[in-house]
Amino acid sequence: MTSRGWFRNGALALGLVFLYVPILSMMVFSFNHSRLVTVWDAANSPTLKWYGELFASEQLLGAAWLSVRIAAMAATGAVVLGTLAGLVLARFGAFRGRALLSGLATAPLVMPEVITGLSLLLLFVALEQLTGWPEGRGVLTITIAHVTFALAYVTVVVQSRLAGFDDSLEEAALDLGARPATVFLRITLPLILPAVASGWLLAFTLSWDDVVISQFVAGPGASTLPMVVFSKVRLGVSPDVNALATLVVLAVATGVLGATAWSRRRERRLAREQRAARGGGR
């Protein structure tokens, strides 16, 4: 047992080193003076030179702003649709077409991105030919594509959160005469709020990060940040991308840690309230 404990903890440590060394190395070299990203120029480093270049680059900043806007819209759309789909799958019991909905909602989780990208582009082209909408490709088509693949993740998160609660509270409220919409807003939504929030963050991240699907459905006018970065790093390493990566990692780490702390505190309060309610009822 002890030898196996040693083995698995060794593997865990190794795995974590494997996960973090590349990120840390990228962060360290973002402060390197030399353009040869990987050779540390001790005489002139650390420096904020590449951060300066990053913030001077209209192209990168413009693309970042576009990506944030698309990600916010796509995440919001995905959360609305994914919450509905998760609710239907977890609470509506059996109905005709449930299997198809469940299949459609989870398939984007594993579908290779090139296939999703190609099929959506062909759809947009066909739609434009038949109906004149969407007019050309750009922000709108990227957003629709992102909603479509991100909503699968939201559905899974919301569905599994709902599966963790029995529906006795909802039943009780309905028995007392509350309308279904009221029950959803006053009981179901508050219960699944952490899942909805993490679903939004997840959808935002997936959209903000997507390069393959965006490349298919973006017109010549709209270049998201990952598209710009991808075309830059295809030609080799580029120090301002290291600076960008460092900022992204720091922002994400702060956001994730903050969100986790918030949802833990909320969870604990909920558990306390439930205990108190149960104690009071007796």
């Binding site: 795995g15 590349p22 239907v88 459609l104 594993v110 290779p112 991105e113």
Partner: protein, 304 residues
């Protein structure tokens, strides 16, 4: 979950709640595949605007019955390049999945057996990189694996190697990239499974004289198979069509199928062949995808 809400089962509101996500997924997920399928059976036209073949074909379909053209598929299957690319992609994905499993299984096991406090910390550490940019994390490996990159510099400084190793633009680099990017997808379903095991089974086995290796092989491993399969599918299926990782890290003389699809579409502007590549990939992956969905249906939430 088991009981369904009686009142929610009736009414127009309920129908609307079902219809909205349903309509979205039909229009933006199912219909697009049917269009790809349709175009894969249509004829390629040279010197047309990129979108013309579709309309042409639709018009014809209204007048004629169905114009079934299997040229694209014949071309794919007879041209050795596509077959070998497909096989290579499956091979790369399979090897990467096994490596991911070999690293991810003991990690998931260690997390599942850690104290609750440490467990949350470890899970957070595993998931955190996933939240940062996938593209930027793959790019980080370029700096590590380059001929004058960090790994070669460190190994040279330690005196372990005389000449730099060729690491970047190799199959090895693609394996590393895929394992690195998809590791959380392997660990999470495995963890979700391993965490639920009844440890009394192991104690009973030990009391009856089983050695740890035996009870692992006869109890833990068989019980964790659903997690192993779910994790492996979550890595394998997208890895077959992976585009970014082989483009940044992989060999330039051996492309993967995702790249070939993209090149057919954008560089060669051959929509029927690109569509046929997509359909061929789907046919290849449909069994794993259905298997994944069955597992997903049985254990909600394990996918993430």
């Amino acid at each position: 979950m088991a009981r369904s809400n009686q009142a929610l089962r009736q009414g127009a509101g309920r129908r609307l709640v079902v219809a909205v996500p349903y309509a979205w997924l039909l229009l933006f997920f199912l219909v697009p595949f049917l269009i790809v399928l349709k175009i894969s059976f249509s004829e390629a036209r040279v010197a047309m605007p990129p979108y013309a073949p579709l309309l042409e074909w639709a018009e014809e379909a209204r007048r004629l019955v169905v114009t079934f053209n299997v040229d694209s598929y014949v071309f794919l299957l007879t041209d050795g390049l596509y077959v070998s690319t497909l096989l290579y992609s499956v091979q790369v994905a399979a090897i990467s999945t096994l490596l991911c499993l070999a690293l991810g299984y003991p990690m998931a096991y260690a997390i599942a057996r850690a104290t609750p406090r440490l467990r949350n910390l470890y899970l957070m550490l595993v998931v955190l990189p996933f939240w940062t940019s996938f593209l930027l994390r793959v790019y980080a490996w370029v700096g590590l694996l380059k001929t004058d990159g960090v790994i070669n510099n460190v190994l040279t400084a330690l005196g372990l190697i005389d000449a730099p190793l060729t690491l970047l633009y190799t199959d090895f680099a693609v394996y590393v990239g895929i394992v690195y990017s998809y590791l959380p997808f392997m660990i999470l379903p495995l963890y979700a499974n391993l965490e639920k095991h009844d440890l009394q089974l192991l104690e009973a086995a030990a009391d009856l004289g089983a050695r740890p290796v035996t009870s692992f092989l006869r109890i833990t491993l068989p019980l964790s198979l659903p997690g192993v399969i779910a994790g492996s599918l979550l890595v394998f299926i997208p890895a077959v069509g992976e585009y970014v990782i082989p483009s940044l890290l992989g060999p330039t003389d051996q492309l993967m199928i995702g790249r070939v699809l993209s090149d057919e579409f954008f560089a060669n502007r051959d929509w029927p062949v690109a569509s046929a590549v997509a359909i061929t990939m789907l046919v290849l992956l449909v069994m794993p995808i259905l298997l994944f969905q069955r597992l997903q249906g049985r254990q909600p939430g394990v996918g993430r």
